[in-house]
């Protein structure tokens, strides 16, 4: 029974396969959006074929654009960034690294994966229902998301399915978090203390703790939103609304309450995506420097600090939301404070390289690229974390550039590093090193070409979540920049086919790997 397997290795691979499938859907959606932004009036046959209602005659409607954006964000955040680093790599390598026979609850583990798969199917189903996928973004703020079809197409059944999908994902993630935590606490090899674990295990441990508390808040948030939509409650709907010329009878709810619940999850989610990668990058840098990780204990403590502080900074997503301006001050100080352990990690990575003998394998390339991207993407957090400066940049392309670099691309570079590093264990073969390095160089340059210029659209004040920029005089000047960015996106997407080819080809035909080819010291290389 390999489909419904309870083996942690199979489940790990299943999560990775699910991510790989999802990431290409997400990339495709982003290409469609980038094309439309620079050719807003061009009719495209393919769009009509895929979305007959959303693109009549091939002309994309604003609601279709917004639904693609919603689905792109949701797919990438949940089914790629949350899935591979933690559930994919974690399931496969955590038991091996701590000397456990399997995860603590193998059947629960299987259930977690299949609930995640069901969640993905539920989400994708939203494309095919009346009105199409929801248009309220991955943040789904009510009242836009709370009142049904009246607020726009896609806000009917499509939005219901979206919420249901997120709720299922929460359940799956909670089950997985419990499994990870119990495995680490109970199943470490005899004599292995917490501070003997590799930093990868620390990454998965802290991430599991974050997941437990974060998804436990998103789940009820989603359920309350669903009740507002389907059961006539008004947790998030204030009184006296007139929507689409129709008087609403609900009263007493607070739209800001949803934002608090969402971002209490939403900010820690960033660390769910990046912490496992941080652990892995430490390992890869150490192995290919021929040195131990510099400041091991500081690195583990920094992860705990990031995980802990990560729960008290959510308000920086709400500086302009209308919440008390005094709380913004507190959130601002805490937000810049969470930058400190991140900087500490960067210093320790550099110190790990210092005095080493660097071997430039493909995995090492991605790890070094990760450090560079982590600096570039993280540093703009020092701007956005100040409410006084956020009042200009909030909801502009500056933010889009910031979170794509730090949360999206950096985490994806960690995934590439992990796949190159661990492929010999997973498949007994190497991913092709030359092809891997070529893919790295093209991707690394492509990422900078795509996301650095987007900051400058933010300087002009270009709002995000606009299906086109035709309405505004001041956005005319940004069009050349967007055209360049769109070309970078085409290039970057095309280059990813190199990786896909390398992955599929090397699985069967790659060079056979000897035991412990990299000379690593951790346990997963021993019990091969």
């Amino acid at each position: 029974m390999t489909v419904f397997s309870t083996c942690h290795k199979v489940i790990g691979k299943q999560y990775i396969a699910l991510s790989l499938f999802s990431v290409f859907i997400g990339i495709f959606l982003s290409l469609v959006m980038r094309y439309h932004l620079v050719h807003p009036d061009t009719k495209v046959k393919l769009f009509q074929l895929l979305w007959p209602d959303g693109a009549p005659g091939g002309q994309m409607t604003p609601e279709l654009y917004l639904s693609l954006m919603t689905m792109h964000g949701t797919i990438m955040v949940f089914f790629v960034l949350t899935t591979t680093p933690q559930s994919g790599f974690g399931n496969y390598f955590l038991p091996l690294q701590i000397g456990a026979p399997d995860m603590a609850f193998p059947v629960l583990n299987m259930l977690s994966f299949w609930t995640t798969a069901l969640s993905l199917l539920t989400l994708l189903a939203a494309f095919f229902v009346e009105g199409g996928a929801p248009l309220s973004g991955w943040t789904a703020y009510p009242p836009l998301s709370g009142l049904g079809k009246i607020t726009g197409p896609g806000q009917g059944l499509g939005q219901d399915l979206w919420i249901l999908s997120i709720a299922l994902f929460c359940v799956a993630s909670l089950m997985a978090a419990i499994n990870f935590i119990v495995t680490i606490i109970e199943l470490r090899a005899p004599g292995m203390g917490y501070f003997d674990m590799p930093l990868t295990c620390w990454g998965w441990f802290v991430t599991a703790l974050i997941s437990l508390f974060a998804f436990a808040v998103l789940l009820p948030g989603g359920v309350l939103l669903l009740l507002d939509r389907l059961a006539g409650t008004s947790f998030f709907i204030p009184g006296g609304l007139i929507v689409n010329d129709q008087v609403q009878t609900r009263s007493g709810g607070s739209p800001l309450l949803f934002q608090h619940l969402f971002w209490f999850f939403g900010h820690p989610e960033v660390y769910i995506a990046i912490l496992p990668g941080m652990g892995l990058i430490s390992t890869v840098l150490s192995v290919f420097s021929g040195k131990r990780v510099f400041g091991y204990k500081a690195m583990a403590i920094a992860m705990l600090a990031i995980g802990g502080l990560g729960f008290v900074v959510w308000g920086h997503h709400m500086f302009i939301s209308g919440m008390s301006p005094y709380s913004s001050i507190a959130f601002s100080v805490l937000t810049l404070a969470v930058g400190v352990p991140s900087a500490v990690k960067t210093f320790n990575w550099l110190a790990t390289l210092w005095g080493g003998r660097l071997r430039f394998t493909a995995a090492m390339h991605y790890a070094l690229g990760f450090v560079s991207l982590f600096i570039t993407g993280g540093i703009t957090g020092l701007v956005l974390g100040q409410p006084g400066l956020d009042v200009y940049f909030h909801d502009t392309y500056f933010v889009v550039a910031h979170f794509h670099l730090i949360m999206g691309v950096a985490a994806v570079f960690a995934i590439f590093a992990g796949l190159h590093y661990w492929f010999p264990i997973m498949y007994g073969r190497f991913l092709n090193e030359q092809l891997g390095k070529l893919h790295f160089f093209l991707t690394f340059a492509g990422v900078y070409a795509l996301f650095v210029p987007l900051h400058f659209a933010g300087f002009v004040g270009n709002p995000r979540r606009y299906p086109d920029f035709k309405e505004y005089e001041f956005l005319k000047s940004v069009m050349p920049l967007h055209i360049g960015v769109t070309h970078a996106a085409y290039f970057l997407a095309a280059v990813q086919l190199l990786f896909l080819f390398n992955y599929l080809w090397s699985k069967r035909r790659g060079a056979l790997a000897p035991a412990n080819p990299w000379g690593a010291a951790t346990r997963e290389w021993r019990n091969d």
Binding site: K291, G339, V344, L382, Y392
Partner: protein
């Protein structure tokens, strides 16, 4: 080797982009906006220095310690170093957090001026309306049942309330230069966002609550107001204008508008 060169080149290109004049902030039109620009420039210098230092160090380490057959050193930690770089970053980062509080306080925490011009702002999918209290200085009562966009009453000003008869409504926000304006932001359906780039101000407009936003614009001119919180399929077309007028022009406009409002 090649990766070090690429990191240095990309970091250099990133820095170089900051020296192009084309894609940048529009000119500031208020004292707050000028203070904003000054603090942003300060922050940019700090993060620019960190960026160049960190990417430079990464490049140098890669070049210096590339495999030339040397034996790797055995050092694996140093508590003094950890303490130094933790406290150094804490000082810089928290210093930025405190340095930035001034412009934030200027937007939201300072007391309003006594002679501030109060204007009510109403957002709906996908249009903006503005209301001035008229000569009596009081906004008329509103009654949601009397809302009628077609006949020019998007606020639902109650016809029976005398305080409302002289209220002036319109689709463009006109304000006098040099005098403080206090906007009272309201939404009638979903969340919207009021953004004026030249004022360096942005504020969500949330149904169910009234949010004040104050500014004093100094430079006459017309400025675009793009909705900046996703509000539905017309979000990208929910456009309005802020027109800053010389005080005399504003008074003349107000007088004319009042006369129009007074006619039955």
């Amino acid at each position: 080797m090649a990766i070090a060169i690429l990191i240095a080149a990309l970091a250099g290109a990133t820095v170089a982009l900051f020296f192009q004049p084309r894609w940048w902030f529009p000119d500031a039109i208020s004292a707050h906006a000028k203070a904003y620009d000054a603090h942003f420039l300060f922050t940019l210098c700090v993060i620019g220095a960190i960026f160049v230092f960190a990417q430079g160090l990464l490049t140098w380490v890669i070049l210096r310690y590339r495999d030339r057959g040397q034996a790797p050193s055995a050092h694996e930690g140093n508590n003094t170093l950890e303490l130094v770089w933790t406290s150094a970053t804490a000082v810089v980062f928290l210093g930025l957090a405190f340095a930035g509080q001034g412009i934030w306080a200027g937007i939201h925490l300072d007391a309003p001026a006594a002679n501030a011009l109060r204007v009510e702002v109403l957002a709906k999918q996908f249009a903006w309306s503005y209301r001035y209290p008229g000569p009596d200085g009081a906004f008329g009562r509103v009654d949601t049942r009397q809302i009628d966009d077609a006949s020019g009453n998007p606020f639902g000003i109650d016809a029976k309330d005398p305080a409302g008869r002289d209220d002036i409504t319109g689709a463009i926000l006109r304000v006098p230069a040099g005098r403080q304006v206090e906007l009272l932001l309201k939404s009638r359906d979903v969340i919207h966002n009021f953004f004026v780039r030249e004022l360096r101000l942005k504020q969500d407009v949330v149904p169910g609550i009234t949010i004040p936003l104050r500014f004093t614009a100094d430079t006459p001119g017309s400025y675009e107001v793009p909705c900046s919180e996703l509000c539905g399929l017309g979000h990208h077309q929910m456009r309005s204008s802020l027109v800053v007028m010389a005080p005399a022009d504003f008074d003349a406009w107000l007088q004319e508008a009042q006369q129009k409002a007074a006619q039955p």
